[in-house]
């Protein structure tokens, strides 16, 4: 088994960009949970980190929108956002082209994934990396699920993508960690930014921790839009991680609504091998 870590966390740009405007204690607790996730990833001694994100028009646009995409380069640049906006310094992050290629070929056995030899990280990857691998010393393989520009892949296909990733990862000798990033309920970058349906988020995370496929896939996009806003479509990344965990159960390490960060800030781990 070469999947050595599997988890999920928030990626909201406010976590870094508007950090000082949150309640200090809650913010520090979130940061500590993210740092602990980084420690746990390092303890698993991965050769690479697959980040399954929901990007926001940094690379993909409605002229040619892949449902699923993976990066295939030896390095990536990020964040694409204004450094003053995100408060993360732009940098080059190592990739691993050869490993990307093997994983993409593996995923392609069951899911038609697009590949990209160029990829600019946006907050969907850059915010998590800022805490998880602050020295940018672990090669990253970016993966993306379109959660922004409908039509979106159905949840069952996000599950299939997670399964395909797992099977691809299990077929390579390298040790691979996987982190999914996204918000659950949120109304980002709109006048409703800050609105959070915390009870709905907790229910989703309970289904995620139980790794209950049927319960996770039972949401319709109409339900999600009503209860979790258009931001809730990013649940696809969490669902892919659950599928990649192949039946393992999850542990919710942190989940608190932080309005200025616009989401229930979440850190969660699938207990592989437990």
């Amino acid at each position: 088994m070469s999947l050595v870590y599997c988890g999920a966390c928030s990626h909201a740009p406010g976590i870094t960009g508007r950090a000082e405007r949150a309640d200090t204690q809650t913010r520090q607790a979130l940061h500590n949970a993210l740092y602990r996730m980084g420690d746990e990833i390092r303890a698993a001694k991965p050769d690479a980190l697959v980040v399954v994100a929901a990007e926001h028009f940094a690379n993909f646009f409605m002229n040619n929108m892949p449902a699923f995409a993976m990066g295939m380069a030896d390095s990536y640049e990020g964040p694409i956002e204004d450094e003053a906006f995100l408060k993360i310094k732009r940098t080059r992050v190592p990739g691993n082209r050869a490993l990307s290629r093997k994983l993409i070929e593996g995923v392609m056995q069951t899911v038609d994934v697009a590949y990209a030899e160029e990829w600019k990280f946006d907050h969907g990857i850059s915010v998590p990396l800022h805490f998880l691998t602050p020295d940018y010393d672990l090669p990253v393989i970016p993966a993306n699920i379109n959660c922004q520009g409908p039509p979106l892949a159905p949840l069952k296909r996000a599950w299939a993508f997670g399964e395909a990733l797992r099977s691809a990862i299990d077929s390579v000798p390298e040790r691979v960690a996987l982190v999914a990033t996204g918000g659950i309920s949120h109304w980002p970058a709109t006048p409703d930014s800050g609105k959070i349906n915390a009870a709905w988020d907790r229910e989703f995370l309970a289904r995620w921790a139980a790794n209950d496929r049927d319960a996770l896939l039972s949401y319709t996009d109409a339900d999600t839009y009503r209860d979790g806003g258009q931001g809730g479509f990013e649940m696809r990344t969490f669902i892919a991680a659950a599928a990649a965990a192949k039946g393992a159960k999850g542990r919710i390490d942190f989940c608190e609504p932080i309005p200025i960060f616009a989401v229930s800030c979440t850190v969660a781990t699938m207990q592989l091998g437990a």
Partner: protein
């Protein structure tokens, strides 16, 4: 009239430093490369963030367009609220507003809940 064209221009501005430089020196030349209505051109040039939101521009594009114009976060949110009052509901795209209480009131409520725990 094309939300797609407005969003495509903003997408290019957000991700391509050369488009940004050209836009900052000669915006009309960049605008001419897209099929835009007069209303859309005016909204982009001013910029009228509220109108762009009402036209249906995705916030993941619009918030960076606002940051490019040095519009601070709270001001960005306020421009969208004013846009709704001035121009009516969002005309196209994924947004419907839901009557959020606002971050300050929400924070206060969460703080009280935490203290009760």
């Amino acid at each position: 009239m094309s939300l797609y064209q407005v969003q495509k221009l903003i997408y290019q501005l957000n991700r391509d430093p050369r488009t940004r430089e050209r836009y900052e020196s000669k915006p009309e030349l960049v605008l001419a490369e897209y099929e835009l209505s007069d209303e859309e051109k005016r909204a982009l040039i001013e910029p009228d963030i509220g109108l762009l939101y009402v036209l249906g521009v995705n916030g993941q594009l619009l918030m960076h367009f606002a940051a490019l114009h040095h519009i601070e976060w709270n001001a960005y949110l306020e421009f969208m609220r004013q846009g709704l009052k001035k121009h009516g509901p969002v005309r196209e795209g994924v947004y419907a507003t839901t009557g959020y209480e606002g971050v300050e009131a929400h924070d206060e409520r969460l703080k009280q809940e935490r203290e009760k725990r």
